[in-house]
């Protein structure tokens, strides 16, 4: 099958190049237009489809590439391919500082920020002398339309292969995880900012080469065309039509939309824009998943998981524990007088908590007591207003959340945060990739984690095919891949069957037997009572009581505050 696909692709590209080389000027130009937009759409898909950062300013890189190649060609009088290469290299270098700024934004703010960026670059291009000013400048043109088309088809083929490699790589998997849930991605040790910057720069390189090809083909560059919103719109349309976030969606969408748009251009040049606008709306409404979405479940199109688990029965011995850990009861995670205030609200107020190696600390308290906030402080998702948090005696205050899993502290979330577009296997694998440098180690660790929670038979499933309990198990397994020293479980066992809870208990016991500490928030005390060595009761952000479970549960303060409050809470809900 793979050989067949490869051969088909090879023939397809070969035919394209032959048509480009030996076709008439008209054929070459038409092909150039169609293929160029495929390339631009792929560039947009990398940042907006894979990474989920929808951009309304990808044309910025198109324009940068256009101007880089123009300036290089005019100032240094170099051959065209040097100009193209310069665009492919300099555009991502320029994207780096831009990405450092723009990727601090998210959602609609990123989209608008990028839109603004394109407008700013357009203004700069209009003002500078070296760019030729607002009305543009002539530059050396390709020797023939055929040459331009051959180069465009070849470059786009390379870009398609590059995207496919990215799609099937560790980085690609991380990017898709970030798209699905950036917070969960951080929690499994992915430096989301770095991954996004890399994606941003790759996407800039593709856009830059596209812009360079465009101006080389027409021999002219001007700010309004180089940063044209129409080009942006057509890229978005192509990706939406083909299937956003898929490897070949932009190629299919590009072939369809670009051909259609070129047909319109040749026959209805003045009405082209309006018709394309209507088609965009139609596509967005009728096929939100694009063409790839229509065939998403067919065998040919279904996304195959990256790599695969080790076959049952094979040895898993090459998985190493996270750290050599002792058995003695030593404090590992300590919070000293930790507080966090949101405006006037003291969500956590001067709390002291210590987790010890080899045992479970349960944190209980009514809704809004500050339990999850305390977890956010412990895992550095929040910075405390006052107080210290130490892991193994080293302060972690102010550290980036994604660094903590690599130092042995992993957390889960109150609500399930799986990566919905990844398979069960990939949900584990993405964490294993973050933990282990070698492919074999990552696969072994991920396989073992799946076996631990009894989900190996489901490895190819998508996560929404799992029961809620299985989904929670999968999340715990994702944390266990790290073989953590400290595991923070936020109501991890809510919604599980007794059998599933038993599975989790087993896994936690094994973890603790190696000297790891488990800190668990639970509403349902029986779910952890058998395992908890100590209980810490929170209410209104302060410690109400702490000690061994039996003692604490007899504490009248706890009964009054916790149980009483619970009743009040449920009455409120009824009303």
């Amino acid at each position: 099958m793979n050989m067949f696909k490869l051969a088909a692709g090879f023939c397809f590209v070969g035919a394209g190049i032959a048509v480009a080389a030996f076709g008439s000027g008209f054929v070459a130009q038409t092909l150039f237009q169609i293929v160029l937009f495929i390339m631009l759409a792929i560039g947009w898909n990398i940042i907006s489809g894979f990474t989920g950062y929808v951009s309304f300013g990808q044309v910025s890189f198109f324009g940068l590439g256009a101007y880089i190649t123009s300036i290089v060609a005019l100032q240094f009088n170099v051959p065209w391919y040097v100009g193209l290469a310069a665009a492919g290299v300099i555009a991502p270098v320029m994207a780096l500082p831009l990405g450092l700024i723009m990727l601090r934004l998210s959602g609609i703010y990123f989209a608008l920020g990028m839109f603004g960026l394109a407008r700013i670059l357009q203004l700069i291009a209009s003002e500078l002398e070296i760019t030729g000013g607002p009305m543009g400048t002539s530059i050396p043109i390709a020797d023939s339309p055929q040459l331009a088309a051959v180069v465009c088809v070849s470059a786009t083929t390379l870009v398609v292969l590059l995207t496919y490699a990215l799609y099937r790589s560790r980085l690609g998997l991380s990017l898709m995880a970030i798209r699905d849930d950036p917070v969960a991605a951080e929690s499994i040790g992915i430096n989301t900012f770095k991954a996004k910057i890399i994606a941003f720069c790759i996407s800039a390189a593709v856009g830059g080469i596209g812009g360079a090809l465009y101006v080389w083909n027409i021999g002219f560059v001007d700010p309004a065309s180089a940063f044209s919103g129409t080009i942006e719109l057509q890229c978005v349309l192509i990706v939406l039509a083909g299937g956003i976030g898929t490897a070949f969606g932009p190629v299919i969408g590009g072939l369809i939309i670009s051909s259609f748009s070129t047909y319109l251009w040749l026959n209805f040049p003045l009405e082209q824009q309006a018709i394309l606008g209507i088609v965009t709306m139609f596509v967005a409404i009728v096929t939100p998943g694009g063409v790839a979405g229509l065939f998403a479940n067919s065998k040919l199109w279904k996304r195959q998981s990256l790599w695969r688990p080790i076959e049952a029965g094979a040895t898993l011995s090459n998985v190493t524990p996270f750290r050599a850990s002792g058995q003695d009861r030593k404090p590992i995670l300590t919070c000293q007088s930790i507080s966090v205030h949101f405006g006037g609200v003291r969500a956590v107020n001067s709390v002291d908590v210590t987790a010890y190696r080899g045992e479970m600390l349960a944190i209980i308290g009514p809704n809004g007591a500050g339990k999850s906030t305390l977890f956010n402080l412990m895992s550095s998702f929040l910075k405390p207003t006052a107080g210290r948090v130490e892991l193994n005696g080293i302060s972690i205050v102010g550290k980036k959340a994604y660094t903590l899993p690599h130092q042995g502290l992993v957390r889960t979330f109150q609500t399930s945060r799986l990566f919905s577009s990844l398979s069960v296997w990939e949900n584990i694998l993405v964490a294993a990739n973050s933990r282990y440098g070698k492919k074999a180690e990552a696969i072994a660790a991920a396989t073992k984690a799946l076996v631990d929670v009894d989900l190996l038979s489901h490895w190819q499933d998508s996560v929404d095919q799992l029961t809620p309990g299985q989904q929670r198990l999968l999340e715990i397994a994702r944390s266990l891949v790290f073989e953590p020293e400290v595991l923070l479980l936020d109501e991890a066992m809510a919604g599980m069957t007794m059998h599933e809870i038993g599975r989790v208990h087993q896994a936690l016991k094994r973890l603790m037997s190696r000297g790891a500490a488990v800190v668990a928030i639970e509403h349902v005390l029986p779910a952890i009572a058998p395992l908890a060595a100590r209980v810490h009761v929170l209410d209104f952000g302060t410690t109400v009581a702490e000690g061994i479970p039996a003692e604490v549960m007899r504490n009248p303060l706890v009964v009054e505050a916790y149980m009483g409050r619970e009743d009040a809470e449920s009455e409120k809900q009824h009303a």
Partner: protein
């Protein structure tokens, strides 16, 4: 679509059966261009289009060129350079036109010149800036007075009145840059002083600050190398800020009837250089003006005249060559000397126009009047500018 294919097959079949000469007699010579029928440059563009259409109509009524009728293939580029470039690709590769004309404005011509030249097609232009005629394009030939020369009649008149100082406002585009550069050089060569010179972006809409700064050194002249909308904007700002000078003149904008319509009395006494005027005693001008008025009920502007002259020049060059052969026509256009309605057509080896000259108009009592050079003038210039009422 199917019809077109059938028609093409039939044409080929007929071509095969009949003698080549007869077949040629039937096929029109296609002349292609894109022009800004919409957008801010549409008033001058539409005048160019009228000029082209009138010339084609006259030639076809007289039996065509080489016994073949002319057919205009035109698109609207909306004033956008990259749209123009794509439309010229289409004209060359899909429409397969025989002759090319330029889009409106030097900037759009610069955008399409590389494509047209690469295809080895002749393009006779009516755009002024020099960078399309500096030797890099061997197939591009200029049929209008170059940008560097258009402002000079203003200086000639100023010299005769003893004016010594000027402020220059120039639009940041090809025409603006080149015309203002030449204006500065010529003024300084004539011993005048440029007290203020500022360039503004094509998207500028508020000219108040610019008007104040231009008037601040109290120059004898305020001159603008402008297009239509900006010349109107500057003039409104001069009036609003009560800035005046002895002579106020702009390029291009005041040529258009729209200029006066939009400004009314403010446009009075404003000067504008031109390369053509209906009262000129040039070859065939009387008939041209008569036919133009009859067809459009308008006086021809210089945009209409240069366009009209371009088609007539093409016709002369092709008649001389005797066939549609791009290289031969190109050579003929470079060699030919022809008296058109605009003046004496003659280009140098790079295709730059060296024959056509420039004149000066002034808005007097709601009408454009030819006031310079004195030999051709219909009236005396009103100077100095009387100030704003």
């Amino acid at each position: 679509m199917l019809q077109a294919i059938i028609r093409r097959i039939c044409t080929i079949a007929i071509l095969g059966c009949l003698s080549p000469a007869l077949a040629q007699a039937e096929a029109p010579i296609k002349i292609g261009l894109a022009i800004s029928e919409t957008g801010p440059s549409s008033p001058p563009s539409l005048f160019e289009l009228r000029g082209y259409e009138l010339a084609i109509q006259e030639i076809n009524q007289a039996g065509g060129i080489l016994h073949r009728p002319l057919e205009l293939v035109k698109y609207d580029d909306q004033g956008n350079p990259s749209t123009a470039a794509q439309l010229y690709q289409k004209l060359l590769t899909s429409d397969r036109v025989d002759l090319m004309l330029s889009p409106y404005s030097a900037d759009l011509t610069a955008a399409v010149a590389p494509i047209v030249n690469r295809a080895g097609r002749v393009m006779l232009t009516v755009t002024s800036a020099s960078d399309s005629y500096d030797g890099r394009y061997s197939y591009i030939v200029q049929g209008i007075t170059p940008a560097a020369r258009i402002m000079l009649p203003l200086l000639d008149l100023a010299k005769s009145k003893g004016y010594k100082t000027l402020s220059i406002l120039s639009l940041n585009n090809r025409l603006g840059a080149e015309a203002s550069k030449a204006l500065t050089a010529e003024a300084e060569a004539a011993g005048m002083k440029v007290l203020f010179h500022e360039t503004y972006s094509p998207i500028t809409t508020d000219f108040s600050a610019l008007a104040l700064k231009a008037g601040e050194p109290k120059p004898d002249m305020i001159l603008g190398t402008t297009y239509l909308a900006d010349s109107q904007g500057i003039l409104r700002a001069l009036k609003a800020q009560n800035v005046t000078a002895k002579m106020i003149g702009f390029s291009i904008g005041p040529i258009e009837p729209e200029f006066y319509k939009g400004l009314g009395g403010v446009a009075e006494d404003i000067f504008v250089p031109t390369s053509y005027f209906p009262t000129l005693k040039t070859n065939g001008n009387e008939e041209f003006v008569k036919n133009f008025r009859a067809k459009y009920d308008l006086d021809p502007t210089y945009h209409a005249a240069v366009a009209y002259a371009a088609v007539k020049t093409y016709a002369a060059a092709i008649e001389r060559v005797g066939k549609i052969d791009q290289d031969a026509i190109n050579k003929a256009l470079h060699d030919i000397e022809l008296d058109t309605v605009v003046g004496h057509f003659k280009v140098n080896a790079n295709g730059a126009q060296i024959g056509y000259s420039a004149y000066l108009l002034q808005w007097q009592k709601g009408k454009q009047v030819l006031v310079w050079p004195a030999a051709e003038a219909d009236a005396d210039p009103i100077l100095p500018h009387p100030g704003w009422q």
